[in-house]
């Protein structure tokens, strides 16, 4: 969860347009695969020689070029040249702390999104930048991490010719890819909802400082989710409304659907955020009430036993002349006195509704 983006300093001072990958450069090299299809035929293969891409680009079929790993900037620069991508766009693809956005160029649409999923072990939210170049008959997708991939379902649908995907163009493919990414947002957010339910139960049955820390963590994650989801709203809205010949009218209906999904995500995030705030208030007022309960116990005990101990102290004094000490019923009388004092105190507390 890169709530603290700090890679940007890598590029401070460089002239704009320089290709530098700002992400985790320990990741393995750049792997490129191509899926080329029309309703009748399908061609899927890894690409080693990038110049081959030109052939697919010029064909009339829909071409999906998937680039996994952004460390090999030379290869990427070459792809950029072949597909006529603006240097600033290439720079944005490599600077992996972009804010999600869409940019319209004459020949292509450039889309940056964040793919999010939970780390297998610690269940942290992990994000990865995914960029799309949407052309008339091709889509190029750039992913940072070759290991994580949410597009397998779409590959299956293309291979098996399921649904409408093979019949429609590159804009529908781009929609399908973005939809697949967004589906994962729902999964991540669902877990957040589960956590909130657990915390709610904990809060009502047995609030602990751990509970507050959990609330804090959920808040932090929601903050992050909002940060990556919020720009999507404008992104999809612009895709839907901008007069671009690259987006067919039919596909706009699907994009409207995507837009509704995002609004729903944001609604839910906002609702969750307000719930966490309410939960903290509940916790603090619970703590405050508990405190009062503890103090009542202490005060009752002290208020009863302090006078008693004092009376006992009086008759423990060693004065020569203390007539009460000589009385035959001195001792039981003193006990009676003490009993009376404590009874009085108890009545007082009962009146105050403390016991």
């Amino acid at each position: 969860m890169d709530i603290f983006p700090d890679q940007d300093s890598k590029t401070v001072g460089l002239p704009p347009g320089t290709l530098v990958y700002t992400g985790d450069s320990t990741k393995a090299g750049t792997k490129i695969t191509i899926i080329d299809y029309n309703p009748e035929c399908l061609d899927e293969s890894p690409i080693d020689d990038i110049s081959k891409c030109k052939f697919f680009k010029d064909r009339n079929t829909v071409t999906w070029l998937n680039v996994d790993g952004l460390t090999d900037t030379e290869k990427l620069g070459f792809i950029g040249e072949i597909f006529g991508i603006h240097p600033l766009t290439m720079e944005d693809i490599l600077h992996t702390d972009q804010r999600p956005k869409v940019e319209f160029f004459d020949d292509y649409i450039f889309v940056v999104m964040k793919m999010i999923y939970r780390a297998k072990k610690r269940s942290d939210i992990i994000s990865e930048q995914v960029s799309f170049i949407i052309g008339t008959n091709f889509v190029i997708s750039f992913q940072e991490n070759p290991d994580e991939d949410v597009f397998e379902g779409i590959r299956e649908r293309i291979r098996n010719n399921k649904g409408r995907i093979r019949k429609l163009g590159s804009d529908y493919l781009a929609y399908a890819l973005m939809d697949a990414i967004l589906d994962n947002y729902f999964i991540v957010l669902e877990r957040e909802g589960d956590k909130i339910e657990e915390i709610e139960e904990e809060l009502i049955s047995d609030p602990m400082p751990r509970t507050v820390k959990r609330v804090y963590n959920v808040k932090r994650e929601l903050l992050y989710l909002r940060k990556v989801t919020w720009p999507l709203r404008e992104l999809i809205s612009m895709l839907q409304k901008e007069e671009s010949k690259l987006i067919r009218k039919d596909t706009r209906i699907y994009l409207r659907d995507l837009y509704d999904h995002i609004i729903q995500l944001l609604d839910t995030i906002e609702t969750y955020r307000e719930m966490t705030t309410s939960m903290l208030e509940l916790y603090i007022s619970n703590m405050s009430h508990k405190m009062n309960e503890i103090m009542k116990v202490l005060t009752i005990i002290a208020t009863i036993f302090m006078p008693l101990t004092f009376v006992a102290g009086i008759y423990g004094m060693n004065f020569k002349h203390m007539p009460e000490l000589e009385w035959y019923f001195g001792y039981p009388l003193s006990l009676l006195l003490m009993g009376g004092v404590s009874l009085g105190m108890l009545i007082y507390f009962r009146r105050k509704k403390w016991i």
Copy 2:
């Protein structure tokens, strides 16, 4: 109250447009009834053979097709075909965690709303998705749960030809149905208002941690109500303003009325929300004041009896040479000393306005 929507994961990975019912599938099958009317005649009957719908669709009368239960996706797909409904619309009807929305198609208007009511037993808020397809001379309503229904009043009005409903078209019917749903929002919200009044009284007479939990629950429900009501504002506003030949000018006046109702609902929800916030503040400041009161009692008691016990302790020491112990008036003098100390303390507290 599905404040935690989690059904969506059912459809992750499926191609868009696949008909899958995401709601509670244990509910009984799909029941379809038709009411077909014009000012003169009325025809009301259950439908088993869906192909019969085509006959009603082509007639010049107003046809209201009510579909109860969404589990039989095959039947529903058939209805979709007959009435020419877009696959994405059918998908939205079956995905019962939609955000309320309106979509304008060439031949029909698609409206999704939430019907809300309180569970009979636990008085929780329950919501159910209701979708409308509004055509030139027909309205199709899709409900999830066949057991709950708020449309009976409208059926009565159609049967008995009460009001204007039989004289007007399908758009007025749609308005009447939406109005019936919205009426229930007021009923649900009213109960919320009652709760707030009860809690206010509890807060002033006898605040307890239970009170805070109740405030929390009301807040949660208000959050939910806002979530389902807020999108209605735009929904009705679009219905009213969009240039669609399916909505007559007369009906727009009625929609304006509906719009006013929604604004009023939102106003009230917002007011209630602010009140719950104020109530928590009141509770916490009350607790804080109570705490001070408890601490004052403890401090007064301790401050009076600790010095006294100390004095008694002094004269309880067993030193050989303690002249005071031999004095004839030693005992009464020591009592006087103690009385003086406690009197001094009492004066001190009185000055501090603690007693």
Copy 3:
């Protein structure tokens, strides 16, 4: 103060347009008076036979029909017919929990406002719905409660031909009536300001839980005032801007003045609301500081006397062999020891700046 509107359930299930009065139906019947004037002549009389209204409607003079009490729905329906009022408008007039609004019809403008004033006894804010039908040469005003009336000043001005009112048309009359209602908002809000000043003083001199309850009540009333004032902003703005031949250009200048008044009301309400929030913060931090003071007293006392009592306890033990007890200066030495301990403690507290 109907912060909890609950009359609406009366109309649930009824067809829209049914005339049902949703207010307090125990109020006396409907009383109608007419004031008909032009710069030269004036005619003021109660109306029993409603059909007489038609005569005034067709005359060229300005006619002000004031309807007090809405229980007699039959009479009201008749008025509606004579003046050509839409059934939904009539319904809105009778449903007295309307949100303030304006609606433009071809022949008239429909305005709903809340008249507010303080109850004579308990100084609660009471509100009453006032509706206006503004036609070319007539204004009809509908009030719920015949006993309360803020229009007497205007009647006087009409009778005595004071100011411009007799010279101008029905739109100016409507403006004057709305202005009279709004003047009362200032009076109600002024009292709120006085309360805040009182509470501020109380907070600084002697904060009590009562103070917080008062803050809570002021907050609640401000919430209510905002709720009824806020819609007026749009209402007047629409009256001013809408292209309606019923509002002359001259009158628009007066409406702009009204608009400024409303903005000022809202400004003041918002300022007051923020002040109440600050006041609660002040109270809580005061309480918190007081608590610390109390705890300091307790801690100082306990920290001084516990060790002393312990020392006294030591020399109160009955061991056979305790050499100190035999010393001649044992007693004064023990007293010195105790004095030393308490002096040390006092120095410690002085250093911590507790005393």
Copy 4:
């Protein structure tokens, strides 16, 4: 600081347009001075006979009529007539609790602002209404209080022909006057900044309840400043954008400058407001921490001495058969026991990091 405007009730019930001065009527009468200039000549004199104004109005020079004190409503009415001022404008000039605003008439522009400054003695913020009538070749300024004046600098500039003022028209004069008023806002706000710096230091070195009261006062003043500054934004924006022949294109550049100043004022006010909120949070968390420290001291003392006193109490009992009392090393052993107990406690607290 009229955060509680209550003069308005004076005018309730009066017909709109009646000239009543709602300010402090104990102030001295109305004093009028005129400065009439063009680049070549200058004429400055007090005015007794108002009809003389007509002469200046018709001349081609720039005329600045400054009216000090608004108690003499007759004189003011006369000025209004000569310069053709709308009755509602005259009313607004006299009702000194106006919200700052601008109104465009055919022949003049009407501007209402608040002049603010600090009272000499108590350093409270005092405000005074200043109205401007900006005509083609004249500016009339109305001030409430003859004693306070921020226009002296401008008079000097006119007299000495410094800067551009003598060369430009009445719109530039109006700009210069408004700029002079606004300069004082910065001075007032600067003092607020100084206070915040002082409070910050106090908060960090030695927080007291007095500190919170100071924060409260600053908050209150900032609230007030925002209330008077906020409307200026729209005011200047309208002056700048409205198509009025009274404002030359050149002057609009100066107005843009004024606009920037106001935005900066609002920015700073908002920043200060957020700082005061943070300061309260800091105070409360400080208090809360201090409380914990106090309670730790108390708990440590009590936890150490209570068991010790108890042990001493045991051996102070007077049972006949208590073998320990007879032991030769009973006393030192009991002291050792006590030492052990208190050592254990100290270790326990050290582990808990309390000491």
Copy 5:
């Protein structure tokens, strides 16, 4: 960090347009350097005789005039004359507490920004006003402090003809300069993120009042950063959208990139701000929980030892007739009694889950 701007009072009362430097006037004099280039040749030299600027201005090359230090108002006035800069613009350049803004004139665009960096020693944020005059073939940059400079990288790129800078016009140069300034914002903000991470860790492991003070300081700095960053959004947006012939279409793409950077800055600032708020809540609820823990320890100790001490006190009384004292097993029985009492208390606390 000039969160308290107070230099403005220097100019109160002066006629607008007077050249007065409001910054720190102890800084050294004004140093001017020129870089003049086209794709082929480059000319870099310090300027002593300002009249030489005219020569560069009229040449067809791109001229970058960098002015370091604003104390020499005479020189600056001269530059203003040569380049035809409006007096109000000159005034804004010298008043170094401007809000960032852009102003379009016929011959040039005027941009004011804040350059921010951290002080070397105390790591405070320091800001300096930088103004740009962007003409057709020249850019003039005005900096306050000659010692700090973020433009060295750009000079290098020009000298070494790296990137596109030498090939493009003055608008691209202006973009590059603004980009260089903005890069520093990211560096400053990154440090803020680091601090938040450190504080988070401190909060979870060992919260101290120091932690809260650090949160307060971070909040303060974020407030400041928002204050200087927020206006940049509109600034760049206007540069990008305004129809000015001075900004070529190509450069607008670069400005869009700048705009994205600013949005990202603002996003991050907002996220950080919300995190600091959550952190304070976490701290306060932690403190509140700790308090409860401390009070539990105290209450347990007091509740156990007070009754025991009382029992011991009873048998320490000196009554003549106390039968228990004579019993042979009186002492062990009394010990048993005490043991029973404390055991009961422990069970009670265990049930309450306090231990």
